[in-house]
Amino acid sequence: MTQDDLTIADPKMTAKGVDVFYGQKQAINDVSIDVGTDLVTAFIGPSGCGKSTFLRSLNRMNDTVASARVTGTILLDGEDIYAPSMDVVQLRARVGMVFQKPNPFPKSIYDNVGYGPRIHGLAPSKADLDVIVERALVRAGLWDEVKDRLGESGTALSGGQQQRLCIARAIAVDPEVILMDEPCSALDPIATAKIEELIHELRGKYAIVIVTHNMQQAARVSQRTAFFHLGTLVEYGRTTDIFTNPKQERTKDYITGRYG
């Protein structure tokens, strides 16, 4: 499969006719989309368009909201993630998430990264955990900055470092998909550039879905872009096509700055 082939032969995740409700209010209306294994998929759209809501339904984080209800089908490697047989704990270990605001635990850098492997029993010994923590921090591009102070609190790092620590934390449990919910919106431009660089490097190792407000960012980091508006998926296609030759009028209006 090449990255420019629009039809994804072997999608990592597939959503079919997904609706999401918060109580009586419908936040997502009939969204169907494929997420490819080797691709970065960007969700763009104005505030309140439902892109984050849809992202959170991909690893069932909406379960923590009592009034939220998801209908339709979401498959991970062909398995329905909302099926009763699906263990949500296993699902979230396979589909990791990075949040809008960096949210390291008030623990040491080492324990932040080691948290996931420990609870999933991935590291039988301290030596194994050392290896996992180092590998995750190296992949997240944070190792050189923190290798001499792994015992310091994760909350003492700068905002950009905290976000890369959160990415390392997600990587440490060796997920298949990483969901990023506006990961740079709380960061300065330099820290943002580092995260974008990191996304490039992680591409191919994980299926990445990123929600962003920033259209330039979507254009820079993604190969596929989905444009959401008012809870519906308006247009989905190759990023280059969406930004240079949108098929829908609404997409064109949004990317040319008419609203948003």
């Binding site: 998430m97 949040f99 949210n103 635990f105 948290y115 609870i119 449990v173």
Partner: protein, 470 residues
């Protein structure tokens, strides 16, 4: 403002402070209306824009009318009885009075009661000639007081009334006065606390002249009521130990786990509907008078524990035991701990919880490994506050722990606490200058200092932790 009508001395005017206060309040209301009307009128005539809304002018006049008169009223109420008595003593009829003593006081108060209409006739014949001078003096000083008060009220009111102009900044003035009143109100509590501390301190210093501080703090025998042959001993260690055993050890062993589990359940697992019911119920539990807990401890828990101890073959099992008092005190403290822990857990950002859940942690793992460690400083602060409450608690220990100062680690034995001993030292017929009574103040001072330190440490911890997430 008049009293005593219907008595044989019906023309006597007495200085009735409550009625006078009502009178000047009424005048202040008139002043308010007048001030408001005048500001409106002036504004209308001059076609000017008022700086302050009309009611502020009203308040300005009313306050000037009321405040000086009310202050005078308070001072005069305190001073005038002395003036009346002095003038009666100066009269001819008083020359035959016995010299200082109980009898002299009784005669004077008898005469005063008749003169001011509190009783119909004298009970002591010697008081009869004093009734008329008393009535005259009362009458005289009441009129002076009333006249001066009304003059002050009118002067204040007129002064304020004449200052009203459209551009007069009445609002600023009124707000300053209101601020001063609020400041005074907040000072009342602080100054009272200072007063309490000072009185504790002075009485304690008197005690420490008789008994050395080292004996109180480090002595191991507490026997303030021993017989004459051997001197009283004031070794505080058994009391401090009893206080710590009951308040800081047994009560906390009960309260901390149950309170924490309650908080975890309420914040993480309970449906909103359950939470809406259980939380206020717990808070009501915190409002149960401690004497009720004391009954429960003394009549239900203590006998049951004694039977249990006897069954186990534990020696010295008493119906008054540290365990009974400690357990019931722990139950009493549960709402306190759970509500502090609840607040701390709720203060941990949702993002922290989401971050853990998104890594595939179960809710249980999230609570144990992320929420509770993150909330721990706040919870610790809450626990320290709870300890400081528990060691100051009195009723439960008086009723259930007993009064014998044993230095023992056996929780089934009777022990006593600082607060229980204070009660014991101060009840019954006591001379207020014996070492035994003064010891109560010294113990109170120790207790005060310990709880103050605990509270300071606890509040600092809580504050530091709150800042971390803002």
């Amino acid at each position: 403002m008049t009293g005593g009508s219907g008595q044989d001395n019906g023309d006597t005017v007495t200085f009735n402070a409550a009625a006078l206060l009502l009178l000047i309040a009424g005048l202040a209301l008139i002043g308010w209306l007048a001030g408001r009307a005048r500001s409106l009128m002036l504004a209308g005539r001059a076609h000017a824009k008022l700086h302050s809304r009309p009611q502020y002018h009203g308040w300005y006049v009313a306050l000037w009318l009321f405040a000086p008169a009310a202050i005078f009223l308070a001072v005069w109420s305190a001073v005038s009885p002395g003036l009346i008595t002095n003038s009666v003593l100066a009269s001819e009829a008083a020359q035959g009075l016995p010299a200082f003593g109980f009898e002299r006081g009784a005669i004077l108060s008898d005469a005063r009661n008749v003169a001011q209409g509190a009783q119909a006739a004298v009970r002591i014949p010697a008081a009869a000639p004093l009734v008329q001078p008393y009535a005259d003096a009362t009458h005289f000083y009441a009129w002076i007081g009333i006249a001066a008060m009304l003059a002050l009220a009118l002067a204040g009111g007129l002064y304020a009334f004449t200052r009203i102009r459209p551009d007069f900044r009445a609002r600023t003035r009124v707000e300053k006065i209101v601020m001063a009143v609020l400041l005074l109100a907040s000072l009342v509590a602080i100054l009272t606390t200072f007063g309490i501390v000072l009185s504790l301190l002075f009485e304690s210093i008197r005690f420490f002249r008789l008994v050395s501080p080292a004996e109180l703090l480090f002595g191991t025998t507490w026997a303030p009521t021993s017989g004459a042959p051997q001197p009283d001993t004031f070794g505080g260690i058994p009391l401090f130990w009893g206080t710590v055993l009951i308040g800081a050890i047994i009560a906390m062993i009960v309260a901390i786990p149950i309170g924490m589990m309650t908080a975890v359940y309420l914040t993480q697992y309970a449906a909103p509907r359950v939470r809406r019911w259980v939380k206020p119920l717990l808070e009501i539990l915190a409002g149960v008078p401690t004497v009720v807990y004391g009954y429960f401890a003394a009549l239900t828990v203590a006998p049951a524990l004694r039977e249990f101890a006897v069954m186990l073959g534990i020696p010295n099992a008493s119906t008054e035991s540290a365990l009974a008092a400690g357990i019931v005190m722990g139950v009493m403290i549960i709402p306190f701990v759970s509500s502090m822990a609840d607040d701390s857990i709720n203060a941990v950002p949702q993002a922290m919880r989401d971050g853990s859940l998104a890594l595939g942690a179960t809710p249980n793992e999230t609570i144990r490994q992320v929420l509770i460690p993150a909330a721990l400083p706040g919870v610790m602060g809450g626990i320290l506050l709870a300890v400081s409450r528990a060691i100051g608690e009195t009723m439960i220990v008086v009723m259930a722990a007993g009064l014998s100062a044993n230095l023992t680690a056996n929780p089934f034995a009777s022990v006593t606490t600082v607060t229980a001993q204070i009660v014991k030292l101060l009840t019954g017929d006591q001379e207020f200058d014996s070492a035994k009574t003064l010891a109560a103040f010294a113990l109170g001072l120790v207790l005060f200092i310990v709880t103050l330190l605990l509270n300071i440490v606890a509040l600092r911890i809580v504050k530091k932790y709150r800042e971390a997430y803002e």
